[in-house]
Every structure is written in C-alpha cells, then in structure tokens.
C-alpha cells in the first residue's frame, strides 16, 4: 500500500513538472502560474469554499467508477447516470411541495434509485445478453443527455428565461445558511461534501467488510472461481452496476440540491462522469484515494481558471491531469526510485 502512495505522489509531482515544461515552452513563467493557481485555491475562505464545492461531485462520480472497477466493470456511464440523478432530483424538487424533512430525503433517494436503475440496466444487458458495458453505457450516456434536454423543454417544467427548468423549492435544498456570511454569497455552501464523505466511508465498509462486498470483489477479480464457489455472478454484475449508477446519481442529486437548483439544457454533457474516471484512476480505485484525488482534481480545475489572469490557457490543467494519469499508468518507470527509497529506509532502520 505504501508503494502505491509513493507512486501516486511521484506521479502528481512529475505531472506538475510536465505542466511547467509546457508553460515554459509556451513562453510563460511556471512559478508565477503555479503560484497564482495555488493562491487562487487557498488564499481566501471564499476560494477554499469554491474548491470544495467544485470537488464534491467528483468524489461520488470517482467513487462510482472506482467501485465498478473493483468489481471488474468499466463504468463509462457515470456521465449519464449523473444526469439521470440531476434530472430526477430537479423534477422532484420542483413538481412536489412538502416539508423539508420529507422533501429533501425524497428527492435525494428518488434520484439515487433512478440512477441506480439506469446503471443496473447496463448490468442487466451484460449479464443476460453479454453486451459489453462499455458500449451500452456509452449509448446510455447520450440517451440520458437528450432525454434530459427533452424534459427541460416540457412546458410544465420550463423556466422561460434561462434554458432550464424552474428552480427547486427551498425545502429540497441542502444549502448551509450559517456558512454563507463566512464564505460570501457566491459560494454555494451545502451539505453535499459532508454527505459525500459519509458515503465514501460507507462504501469502504461495504466493499471490504461485508459478505456482499466480498462477493462483488471476487467476481471482479475472477469470475470463474467465483462461480465455482457458488457465487451468482450475474446477480453480482447487475448489483455492482446498480450501486455504481446510484453513486453517480447521488452526485448529480447533491449537485442540483446544493449548487445549481435546476436542470439546464446542455449541448454536450458537463463531464462530471468522465472526470470521475480520471479521479478513480488517480486514486487507485480506493475510496480514500478517490476522496483525496477528487479534491486535488477540483483544486487544479478551479485554480486553473485563475491562471487566466496571467493569460495562461486553463487547458494546461488538462495537460497536468493527463500527465499524472499517464505516469500512473506507466508506474513501472518509478521502480528505480522506489528501490532507492527502500534501500534508504532499510539503512535507517538498521
């Protein structure tokens, strides 16, 4: 485990170096750019607030993808499942009016279950028909996008001014009012982060400490041996995709109830699901790794926009992130460094 951590840190470091090199080649000062980015994240409470808010959806979409990987499945569909969560939450939040103590849980659970079913559908296709989840979820992503757009334009939902639905009621929101004065009006402080962290802990427990988690991991590592041991492989595939879908959908629901408050018409999908894939891979598919990398990713993205004041294209963040993932992929390249560190550790122990 320790080795994995070192490799990830090295990859992050080297990724930043690659970004610096690109900046230099393009004629910018990397030290200035990185300083701006860093300060842009931590120098004011408002900035920290924004970073956390931006990172929150990635925690759960990353968790969704990581969970699926652990069970042997590639959930490219986190993108679509997120949108399903957003749509259902947005609709339930507006169309019904109930006291907050019922409304909010209803909205969130409804959205999560709907997205879970959406993911489970892909799992069913794989278990029953042998359709690879990569293709089916890619298709489902597009279907979710267009269906969401279709629903936004329904007359009973559509808000005339922006290209979106009416806002959801106060009773369905997760805003934290008492944090507002601390962080300023623009930061949409909400319970999403706290809920996400609790979910991370729960998933960790579920995956590694329970009977069901054992079964899902067994199927993920070796379907044949799992079947031989009496585990129902097909059920596990559907269950895994359901849970993965639910996690991504929850991310969407928390986003709507805490930040956007409505469903927008989109030309292309926003990328929370795809970025979740990056977060999962950076975090080595472990729940706590995902949590930390989501924060890192969100920080880099948000900080990246700040670099615009220096004229630095924010795309350099994509380059840094891409490099980090790439370096994690070729982690074998770090072997000599690891050997050196192990040797050094050995001598200290003596």
């Amino acid at each position: 485990m320790n080795e994995v951590l070192i490799v990830t840190l090295l990859a992050i470091l080297m990724g930043l170096v690659v970004g610096a090199v690109v900046l230099v080649l393009a004629g910018y000062n990397p030290a200035e750019a990185y300083k701006t980015m860093f300060l842009g994240i931590v120098s004011r409470p408002k900035y920290i607030g924004w970073t956390l808010v931006r990172s929150t959806p990635l925690i759960l979409t990353g968790l969704s993808v990581a969970f699926a990987f652990r069970t042997g499945l590639f959930n490219i569909g986190a993108e679509g499942q997120f949108m399903v969560g957003v749509l259902v939450a947005g609709v339930l939040g507006y169309v019904i009016e109930l006291p907050a103590i019922i409304h909010l849980p209803l909205v969130i659970i409804g959205a999560t279950v709907a997205a879970g079913l959406y993911g489970g559908l892909a799992g069913y296709f794989k278990a029953k028909y042998g359709v690879h989840e990569v293709i089916s979820t890619i298709m489902l992503n597009w279907i979710a996008l267009y269906f969401s757009n279709y629903m936004v334009y329904r007359p009973y939902l559509k808000n005339p001014q922006p290209e979106a639905t009416y806002d959801i009621h106060e009773t369905a929101r997760t805003t934290i009012d008492w944090l507002q004065p601390l962080l300023g009006r623009s930061v949409k402080a909400n319970w999403g982060l706290a809920i996400s962290i609790i979910v991370v802990i729960w998933v960790s427990y579920y995956l590694f400490k329970t009977v069901q988690g054992y079964e899902l991991r067994a199927v993920g590592y070796n379907k044949d041996a799992a079947e031989y041991a009496g585990i129902n492989v097909n059920n596990c595939i559907v269950k895994s995709m359901f849970i993965a879908g639910a996690l991504a959908g929850l991310a969407g629901a928390l986003h709507v109830t805490g930040v956007s408050f409505h469903v927008s018409k989109l030309a292309v999908s926003e990328g929370y699901g795809f970025n979740g894939i990056a977060v999962a891979l950076m975090g080595n598919n472990s729940p706590i790794g995902v949590l930390l990398c989501a924060l890192l990713f969100g920080g880099l993205q948000y900080g990246g926009t700040k670099m615009g004041t220096l004229g630095v294209p924010s795309e350099v963040v994509s380059i840094v992130i891409g490099s980090i993932i790439f370096l994690i992929a070729i982690s074998k390249v770090f072997k000599p460094i690891l050997k050196y560190i192990n040797k050094a550790k050995g001598e200290v122990v003596k």
Binding site: K209, T210, V211, A226, A229
Partner: protein, 513 residues
C-alpha cells in the same frame, strides 16, 4: 534405442557451463549438455528443476547469463528463435504454441510464410507443403482444420510439423507425452525413431521414467538447476533414475490399507450432458462411488470428463438423468445447494477455478463458506474468525510461506494446491472430487496430495479421482472406471488391471467386467 543411428563423431549440440539467473534466482547453474547426431537424449528432472529453462536458452527464448553454446561444432550466440531456427533447432513446447483460431496450415507457416508478390500469402503452396511434409514423416493432419477443433494428440503433430517445416535437424520435445494415451505414446516413440533414422537428433524433456526407458539413448539428470549426471539409459533402472532426480530413495507404492467400500454415496443415473456446441458429450452415463472408496476415472482428455464434473457440481446444465447424493437428487440445482448437499471439488484448473489469485490466502480459505457463521454474521465478515481458521489450516496442511496475508498468486503451484485441498477437505464432504490434482506439482507435493486423498477414504468418505495420468490412477484408486466418448466402458479393480488393459479401454477397444 538404436545405437546404429548415432554418429558419435558428430556433436550436434554442446552446451557448456550454462548459467541462467532470473534476478537472484539461479535457474541453471553451470550445466553441461552434449548431444550427438542421431541420438535421442532425455533431460530428466522434477518440476522446476530447470530443464525447460535450459532448452528455452537453446531455442533462443531466453539468453544465458553465462556459458557457451556450440551447434555442429560452431560457437553460436542464439539471440532469438530466428537464430535457433536458422541453425536447425526446432522446439515442440509443453504448452502448445498454437493460435487456436488459426488453421493447421496458418499455424505451421506463421513466421515463414510463402508469399507471391507484395506480401500476399501463397495459401495454395502452403497447403501443398504441409501435406507433403505430413506424408513424408507420417504425421497426418487436416490442413484447413482450426486448432481449437482438434484433439490434443493431433495438435501435437502440428507442433512437430511446425519444427520440421523450418528444416529442424535438432528437435526439442518438452514433456511431449503429458497429454497422450499409451497407444499415442507408442506412436510418438516410433515417430522419434523414424526421425533419428533420417539423421535428426532429439532432446526430450520429461519426468516420465517409463518413457525414458522406452525411447532414450542417453539421459542427463538435472536437479535444482544443477547437472547431476549423464547416464546410458540401458544401464539404469527406473528406480536409479528416480533417486538421481529427487536426491533420495523413492518408493512408488502408495501406502494404503485394505478397505471395504460401504454404502453408496454418489450415484449417477443415465446422465446426459451437452457440451458448448450442443452435442451430447456425456451419454446415459451410470456410475457409483461408495463410502471408503477411491474411484479413479480414467480416460483421454476430451471424452466428457470435464463436462461430467461440471454437471455434477452444478456448473453445467444436465439434459437428463439423475445425480444422487446419499439418495437425494441434486441434478440442476445451484452450485451452492449442491455444495451444501455434501460435495467438495478440487478443480482441474486451480488458478482459474480454485483460487482467486488476487485475494489473500485467508480470503481464499473461506471462498465457499464466507457467508455462513462463524465467518459472517448479519452480512458482516468476522475477520478474526476467518484469520484464525486460516492459520489453523495453513499449519495443519503445511502451506508455505505461512503468512496468510499474502496474495494467493504469490504461492507456488504446490502450495496453492495445498490451500485448495485444505479448504475442500475441511468442508468434511461426503464425496470429494479431485480432477488432475497433481498436475504441475513436484514429487513432494504429489505425495502430499495422494496422502490426503487416502486419508479421506480412510475416514469413510467417498473419493472420485479424475486423472489423465494412468500411473496415478493405478496407484491411488481402489476401483477404476474408464470413460470413453461419454460412457463408462469398463469398471475394474485397480489391483487386477494394468496400463495396457486400461489404455485399450480408453481408446474404445476391449471391455472390462
């Protein structure tokens, strides 16, 4: 053993002081090997002794860390298989190097394809060449048949043709008889002699003493990477060879008390099972296994054994018939329910079906029981109980290393098998099924497995042993049933039969009882 074919003046292969290291592990330690033209030279050693490594060096798949190789008296640096092939070395691998979805012809010509203009393969010429070659050496094959549709014996012929196609003068055969019937082994020995008559030289890697005695002229014995001795095969007994191979006295007999089989535990009635292509591969099969009995199921791979075991254990649907465990019919029930009815299974492919290599040893120990008490309560795993259970078993069954937190994939084949056996035996099943349980294991591990099976039988359990190794079947079983084309064609007392009789039944001839 026809010394007339050997030309003692011509040394076709000389390997001098060959050393090969993989990191810190020394696979070959200063080994010398000399082969003359027209000779059949056996390379004898236990699993993991280093024989295949040495030959992989000769064929250019590995490169030696130290030492020199001389072919036909000339020093050669064999950098890759192309160089070896250029110098007339050909290799027939233990695990066939054949592409399953390609045809016989495509596999034979791969890498040396005949072309007509701009890289286009001249398929007609290729087919013609293959047919000519197969007729010349008596190795008959169908040029357009896909490898995955062929029997193992036939696949081996393709492997040999591959080497001959490239003009091999020196043929290396790696464990060639592992998958053949006694009759096919005889045929192979004849083929080898024909080849030496044509001036070819053969190196055969094996741990089968009987075959060495039947075919080889000389034998080099390798133990733990070192050369022990070179002997003239005619001057040695099997026991001599065995003790040199293992380094101590070896007895071949399995220690077994007399036991009278009791009540019927497993009964298969008119069992019919289909294979993946919808063909009835098990047909109206009837079989009985009793308490206190080891029943060996002998047969050539591909006669329905795999499908039969899958059907009994619930992994494959049963078309018709009954599977009775102590009178209760479990046909077509779920894997888990059948397991609970008293069957435990040691699978043929331990890495595919028996273990999850990426799970720890303790996670694998409870692979079938993780969900019941005491290992789990209300859906939550109790790791203390799981780990103490695993510690117990690891000690009792001498699994090494003893660290239960290791990945199962880090264990050697023999120790992996010990984990599986520990788990299955501790289930205390009424009937224990073991399929090819000693495949790929060294002599010490084999002894352990056989001992475990006999222990089960002595406790009054029923044991069904499915094996392609006739020696094993004969020495371990009390009774032997022979399966041929999905039916039982013979049922004999192990003490009252021999290899030839069994071999005959296994190929469809003769009848027992």
């Amino acid at each position: 053993m026809d010394y007339k074919t050997i030309d003692f003046n011509e040394k076709v292969v000389e390997m001098k002081q060959i050393t090969k290291k993989f990191g810190d592990f020394v696979a070959n330690d200063s080994i010398d090997l000399t082969v003359h033209k027209g000779e059949i030279h056996a390379l004898l050693g236990e699993n993991g002794a280093g024989k295949t490594t040495l030959m992989n060096i000769l064929y250019g798949l590995y490169h030696q860390t130290e030492g020199d190789i001389f072919l036909h008296g000339k020093k050669v640096d064999i950098k890759n298989p192309n160089v070896a092939i250029e110098h007339g070395v050909g290799m027939v691998h233990q695990h066939f190097m054949l592409v399953p979805i390609f045809t016989v012809t495509e596999n034979i010509i791969l890498g040396s394809e005949p072309v007509k203009g701009a890289g286009r393969i001249d398929l007609a010429k290729a087919r013609q060449d293959v047919v000519e070659l197969s007729e010349r050496y008596g190795l008959y094959v169908e040029p357009d048949k896909k490898i995955q549709d062929m029997s193992v014996g036939m696949q081996q012929r393709v492997e040999i043709l591959k080497a001959l196609y490239r003009g091999a003068e020196i043929l290396i055969l790696d464990e060639p008889t592992a998958v053949l019937t006694p009759q096919e082994i005889q045929e192979l020995i004849e083929i080898m002699h024909n080849l030496t008559k044509e001036g070819k030289s053969i190196i055969i890697i094996t741990h089968k003493l009987k075959e060495i005695k039947a075919s080889a002229d000389y034998c080099t014995i390798i133990r733990r990477g070192k050369k022990i001795d070179v002997v003239e095969v005619a001057e040695c007994t099997e026991e001599d060879l065995a003790s040199m191979m293992v380094g101590r006295e070896v007895s071949f007999a399995v220690d077994k008390d007399e036991k009278t089989p009791g009540e019927i535990v497993l009964e298969l009635k008119n069992l019919t099972v289909e294979d993946n292509r919808g063909i009835d591969v098990v047909q109206n099969l009837n079989l009985i296994v009793r308490e206190g009995e080891i029943l060996g199921l002998a047969g050539i791979d591909g006669n329905g054994q795999s499908e039969l075991i899958e059907a009994i254990t619930g992994l494959r649907p049963i078309k018709s018939g009954e599977v009775l465990i102590k009178g209760k019919n479990v046909a077509n029930e779920s894997v888990r329910d059948i397991f609970k009815s008293g069957i435990s299974n040691i699978p043929e492919d331990r890495q595919k079906h028996g273990l999850i290599l990426d799970f720890t040893i303790y996670e694998n120990m409870v692979l079938e029981n993780y969900q019941v008490e005491p290992f789990a309560k209300k859906g939550r795993l109790d790791f203390d109980k799981i780990k103490s259970f695993s510690h117990e078993l690891v000690e009792k069954f001498d699994v090494r290393p003893t660290n239960i937190d290791l990945r199962a994939g880090a264990l050697s084949g023999g120790n992996q098998q010990k984990v599986i056996i520990a788990r299955e035996v501790t289930n205390d099943p009424d009937i224990l099924i073991a399929t090819q349980p000693t495949r790929g294991l060294d002599v010490g591990a084999i002894e352990f497995v056989h001992k475990s099976l006999v222990e089960q039988r002595d406790k009054g359990k029923a044991v069904l042993l499915v094996s392609y190794e006739l020696d094993e079947v004969l020495s371990v079983s009390d009774y032997i049933a022979v399966i041929y084309e999905g039916e039982i064609v013979g049922h004999v007392n192990a003490k009252e039969t021999n290899e030839n009789a069994l071999g005959l039944m296994m190929s469809g001839g003769g009848h027992g009882e």
